[in-house]
Each structure stands twice: as structure tokens, then as C-alpha cells.
Amino acid sequence: MANGKSIMVDTSRCTACRGCQVACKQWKGLPGTKTKQTGTYQNPPDLSAQTLKLVRFSEGVKENGKPFWYFFSEQCRHCVEPPCVDAIGDDAAANKDDATGVVLFYEKSKEATFEDVRTACPYNIPRQDEKTKVLVKCDMCIDRITNNRVPSCVLSCPTGAMSFGDRDVILDQAKKRVEVLKQTYPKAAALNADEVRVIYIVTDDPTKYHEFAVV
């Protein structure tokens, strides 16, 4: 393994079709939840024990007076040094997979203090299953990637906004993509690329995409 695995999410190629959001639920067997239209395309409103991947929508007006609409297909970043694993502090409840670097929560995580874990995560990712108290988040489809398949979300993407592979390759790819994008968008960046395995590429101020886009 070359430094484990990584995913690149290139928001400049994302049309917010939400194929990834649905594909995640399909592979994980998670139900659609009852939602309301509250005046936004973003639905469900937040991550939950039933929603591990969520496309966030953010709109506004640019300096030049033209509208913008940014999409942020959110999921666990799978930190290289995951603070959630430290917060849980029990290898049987949460750990980092040696081969892939994927951060995994297990059933025993129900014994952890959820608020501690949640606040430990700078990206506001972990959620708790209300009934079982187990902590949940994306596991990068560990069952798929250890069987020579790409994560379900990556497979579903029609425009190539998501790619998966060896971390070194993905890092290189992200670097090159940012260089290209910078020619048009000076603010283009790969967010926290050195610290996370799920690397988002944006073309504008990351907080315009999502409050917890970057650390």
C-alpha cells in the first residue's frame, strides 16, 4: 500500500446531483428519512445516523454581483491522525485501519461519551444512533475497498468529481488539479490535504461552501 487510501472530491466538477448521497444509503442499507421542504435544496438538513454522506448547498452573491451556488458533498475526512479515535480512547471502539488508513467506529463506541467525540472532530462529522447509542460515520466503504472496489459514492459520480486511489496518487492528482484551477480561480485549494484522506478541492473561500469545510 502506498501510504493508504484517499478520496478526492473536486467541487469544481460537482453538479450536486446527489448520486453519492443516494449511493451511500443504497450500499449501507440506510433508510430515507422523513424530511420537510424548508426553503433549500439541502435535504436531509444534516448528517445523522441514517445519513453518512450529505450534499450541502450554499448560495449567495459574488463580489461581481453574480450569483454563486456551491456544493459540498460532505463525509468523514478520515484524518491521518484522527482526534475522534483519541477521544474514544479504546481500540475496540474506534481505530484506524492499518492497510488503508480508514477510520472506523465499532459497536463498542456506544460506551464512549458522544459529545466528547463530536467536539473532538474539527469537521463536525460523528453522529450517534439514537436507539443503539453507537457512534456512526462514513467508513469509506471498507468492505468494498478491501475487495478491490471503489467506494459506493465514488462509483456513482457521473462527472468524475470524486476519485479514489492510493493516497500518494490522489495527493499528486489534487496538487495538479489545484494548479490548473488556480489559473482561473486564484483561491483554488485542496483543503487540509496533508491532514485528511478525503481531500476537497474548492475554487473559492471554503467557508462559503460549508462552515466545517476546512480547519
Binding site: 446531483c17 430515507g32 424548508t38 426553503g39 448560495e59 450569483p67 451556488w69 468524475g160
Partner: protein
Amino acid sequence: MTNHYIDIRNADVILIMGSNAAEMHPISFKWVLRARETRGAKIIHVDPRFTRTSALADHHVPLRSGTDIAFLGGMIKYILDNNKYFEEYVRDYTNASCIIDEKFEFKDGLFSGYDPATRKYDKATWVFKKDENGIPQKDPTFQNPRCVLQMLKAHYSRYDLEKVSSITGTPVEDLKTVYELYASTGVRDKAGTELYALGWTQHTVGVQNIRTMSIIQLLLGNMGIAGGGINALRGEPNVQGSTDHAILSHILPGYLKAPVASLATLEDYLKKNTPTTKEPQSANWYQNTPKYMVSLLKAWYGDKATKENDFGYAYVPKLDDGQDATLLNMIDAMYEGKVKGFTCVGQDPACSLPNANKVREAFTKLDWMVHMNIFDNETASFWKGPGMNPKKIKTEVFLIPVAASMEKEGSMSNSGRMLQWKYVAEKPPGDALSTGDVVIRLMNKLKALYKKDKGVFPDPIVNLAWNYTDQQGNYDPLGVAKAINGLFTEDVTIGDKSYKKGQCVPGFANLQADGKTSCGNWIQCGSFAADGTNLIARRKKDDPTGLGLYPDWGWAWPVNRRILYNRASVDKDGQPWDPSRAILKWENGKWVGDVPDGPWPPLSDKEKGKLPFIMKPDGVGALFGPGLVEGPFPEHYEPLEGPLSKNLLSAQLTNPTIKIFKKECDVYSGCDPKFPFVCTTYSSTEHWCTGAETRWQSWLTEAQPQAYVEISKELAELRGIKNGEQVRVESPRGKVECVAMVTTRFRPFQIGGNTIHQVGMTFNYGWLFPKDCGDTANLLTPTVGDANTMTPEYKAFMVNVTKV
């Protein structure tokens, strides 16, 4: 599409207008973005609303719904005024040089020959002056003021930037940006493509919207080339296939014209519908109509179709002369009680057709309705819908469960006219049958009944060839596909090749008008090889041109040609305008690349060479196009319901040739303070059409749970509406309650000096399920259609929006 999905990657400028490609055709955007990333293509989105397409475009340019012809007319003026057109192409491959009849004129919104009583034109003057041999007179120098190019220039001289801006609401600077960028493709080594969908078709001037763009593509030399074309992104995965197979009332399979009552014999029909030409270098491909029609009759009636009985032409149902049997008229007749029974397959007209209250009321007049679908929907259950009293409704409804697309084998035709073969992934649940099996069983029963009980005219049913079943008596998709391709009905020798009776006909050039071939749809002839190989099922990934044609993947009609009119991509000597995008090239006496539009040598061969637009009798692209009912040059007319009392370009406010429906429920409002806002309707990525299939899918309803109306911040302030509040949207025909989505993605327009607000709704909802999702936006839309096609004007009408 004249081109195909992958070909979008070959474009330098991509104009998306009349389409929300990223949301409605997500896969198209793979190729749109590929064009940007590999060749620096620019993406322009012209749309009233800032959508997920706009979010990824280089330029989003707003326009008021229903003003596309004004916008594009301004582009034609820009191209002509600034000499941005591709002169050689325009001169040799279009009718730009033809001289128009002296009596033809255009005055204050009307062309010559209009009769206000019938709302129709006499097209006698919409013709070219002919020489003594019957060939159109031409001036290749374009000096003659009556030549098409000059007349085109004169027609659009009124469409200046300020005028266009005051109609469309598009800022002048934005107009200039789009015009300059798109016109930059009018050179040899640049290609511009246009992607449209229902945003252009669903207007009272729908076909003319597309015509206007076709004129632009011809002027810029963008038709027939890689990365060019006029590309309709079709909706349902097989809507292209259903159109090809004549799901419409005015055509037979393969776009042959539907016969009318006055054409009593096959000879009458063929004489009327087979075009002729005097143009020496025109292929006039439709001169082959007799071969296609006779082969179609042979496919339908088999051995019972003989020369002596006109090959069974008398069996084919005829339209009354002048009859329009499209949906809006069908519902109108149903509303009057003239239609007793209704078979509805895979649709939800109680939500999908305009003026849904009228449609639902019309269903109560039926004796029976047979509905085939994978789920119950608002149509099958109309009798228990809002405002209905089941006790007073006599209509008996039969809901027949049928298989979904993944449960059926057969071909699917995509937007790029490519057929791909699919297999059964899963057997249909319970008693559900494929629609093919339902039809087989129904016809078997009918045939048996007519054989036994006779009846007034049993021949068309008794004599129908009906060998579409396998040994178990089930629908045989492969057999049907072969019948569509066509078979030799006896041993035949064509040139140096001999074929046995029963062999597949390898291409429509082999079809015969004497009954020796059968063919269920001439445009699909050649989808099977003579040895019976199913070319639709091919899966080879070779790409010899490197331009993404993939000729051995599936099969595209016609004759596996991937880009239509491709003879226009080369000069008169057969050399590509742009060698880096050579889909076709004349090399050592033969064509290399895509399947050429006919085998003939290039045009410079005065004896054998042919003009590129082989489906037109004159062989050239029609800048002057007298085929449509409104006129040979597209003209801006306001939607039937609009915010203006006067068309800023002429005295003619609306399309003079549309049909005005006059039932008491067909009420319209133009420029009425009670309904001050322009409204448009559309779909979302998350639902399919009325949502009749997708609303049952919890992952999708979770993402888009309830009906909403998108309104600007300015309008919200005006009406005291907050984001997420419940509002009422009302038109003269109905009202719906839904959630207000207050957004910066809609902005007010400045139209003729006034601020005009536009709002938009999806048509993804209905009252049946989920219970709290809201009813259809089509309770608001008007019963009115395009003057040529009767496609409803879903995209522009007037409403009011108030807080509940």
C-alpha cells in the same frame, strides 16, 4: 441529437439554452466538463433561473421565459452585421443565395398569406424564384436584395441589442458576451454546440425556437461537424425510441407521414408524400419514400399485403384531413364526452398535462380507463382525488401492473440515436407482465374474436401479421427487433449480392417498393446484419477517429452514422474544414471516418457528387424554411400568457397560428394585475417527471420531499414572504399551495422599462403520495400548444403568489 453525448467533448463553445443539462441530464455534464478540461471550452447557460447548470458554467445569462427567439434573433443580427458567418459553408451548403419570390413579404409581425379567420397561412408566396428548369435562382455573391441572406438580414435588423434587452430582460452587456463568444465559432477550426430540451420545446413557439438556433448553426458552419450540431437532450431513457416508433399521432414509424382520409390509395399517399427536386446535385433522400412505406405495410400485413390490394394500405387507420389528434385535442374531446375509453400506458396525465383540473374532469366523462403502470398514480386513482366524488363517477378503471425497464429485454435508443441492447435483470413481480406481453395477449384475443364474429371490417385485424412470440407464446423482443430491421420476403439479388427469403435486410438502401422486403421502421434497417447478427448488442470500444464515435458500440440510426449531415464537415473536395476534428475525409476515392451521409463522392464531382443536406429536397440547409406554420423566418411572439400588453417588435402579440381552446375551464390572462408574475415549470434531478415513479422511493423523496416555488428575494420582500413559508400560487385555472424557496438564483427582470418578477415550480408532485407533498404545478398551466406540434406551453404563463 444531430450529434451524440460523447461528441459534446469536441466543442469549443457549449451553449446550453432551453435546458438545465446538469440537473436533467447529469451524464451530459461529464462531456461538457471534459470539453472544458481538455480543450478549454467555454460553457454558456442562458436561463431565467440560476441552476446547478449555471453553477458550473462560465457565464450564466438570464432571460425572461418565452423570449428565446428575441435573444437568438439578436445573435443572428450580430453574426450578419459583423460578418461572423462561415462564408464558404453558407454559400455552398445553405439556401442563403436563393432568390425569394417577389410576392413574399413580412409586415408588422405577419408574413404574406395570413388568414385571421382560420389562423392559418397560405404559403404560396413562401417560395423561391425558379429558372426555366425549375431550379431555384441563386446569387452566390449575395448582392441581390431578395436573396435569402439579405432577406434574413432585413428580417432581424429590428433585433438590436437594446430592443432585445428590453424584451428578454437580459442586460446588454450579457447579450454582447454571449453573441461574441458563440459567434467566434464561425470559422473552420472552431466548433459550437447547442444543448436544449423542454425549455425550448414547451412554448407556443417551441419549434421556431429550435429553428432559430438551426439558422445560427448553419450560419456558423456548425452543422454536421464534430463538436457542433443541434442537440436535443431527450428525457426518458427511451423517449427517442418511442418517437422513432411513432408514439405521436401525425407519423408512422420512421417519421413517415400518417395517412389522411383524402389519400384513399397507396398511389395517392405516395404521390403526396414523396418529394421531388430539379436540383441536379440533390440526393433528395425522401424520394425513397415508396420503398419505406411499402416495406412497412409488408411488415404489418405480411403475405396479406400484395400489389393487388395496395399492400394493405386500406387497412391503415386514416386521420381526417386537417385533424390534429394530439393530446390536448384528445383531452378536449374527452372533456366534451366524445371519447368513451382511454388506454394509458406508463404516463400520469392527471399531473403531466396542462390545466390538470380540465384533464381530471375529462376523465370523469369516460366509460372506462385501462391504465398500465408500475405504481398506482394520480391518473389511475383520479376518481378519488381532490374534489372528486367517487359515487358520482361512472368511469371504470382497470390498473394493470406491468414490468419496469430493468425487467424487460430489448433495445433502448438514447438521445444520440444510438440503440443499445439490454437484458432482463430481474423478473417482474407478481402478475406484472411486460407491456409487450400485454399487447400480444390483447391482440391475440381481438384476432380470435374478429375471426369468429367477423364484424364490419375485420380485415385489418385478421390480416395483421402477428408472429412476435416465442415458442411459449410470450413476447419475443429479438423477433420484434428483427421485424423492425426488415426481412427479405423472397429471394432477391441486389447488385452483385444475393439474399435468401427470411434474411435480415442489411441497410435501407436495399429496401424495395415491390413487396420483396418488409421493414417495420426504415431508419432502423441495418441494425441487424444479413446473417442475423444483432448489431444493437455490440460492445466494442474501438475508436478509430479518436473523436469518440465508437462505431462498434451499439448501433445508431441511420446506418450507424454517429453525426448527421456529416458531409457538411468537409469542403467541396471532401477535405475536412478542421483536420484536427476530421469525422470524415475523402481519401483515395473513398470516405474514411464516420458513415457518410450517402456514398457519393464530394460535391466538386459535378456528375456524381451530392449536396450535404440529403433529407432536404434542395440538398442544402434551410436558412429560409417554409415548412413550419408560422413563417419561413422565426419571429418573436409573446407567450399566450405574458406580462406585456404589446409585443415590442410588432403589432402581433402572440403566435398568430396557435389554436385557442374555448372550453369554460380554458381561461387565460395576459397582462392582468391579478396575475402579475411570470411562472415557469421544470423538473429536478431527484424526481422523474410527475414523480409518479420516484415519489415512492424514500431516498429521493427525502432529498426533495415537497412542492416548492422558487422566488427572488425582491419578490419575497414585496409580498412579505419568508423562506420556507407556505404560499399559494394561483393562475386563472387553479391554485396550489407549496413552500416558498426564497433565493438569489431568481432575480427580477427589467422589461420594457418595468420590473417583472419571475417564479418557478417543479412539476414533480401529486396528491396521491406522499400525502403531504402537494399537488401538481400543472393545475396552473394553460391548455395551449406549439402551433406545429401542440407541445404544451408549460414554460411561460402568469400567476400570483401570496402568503397562506
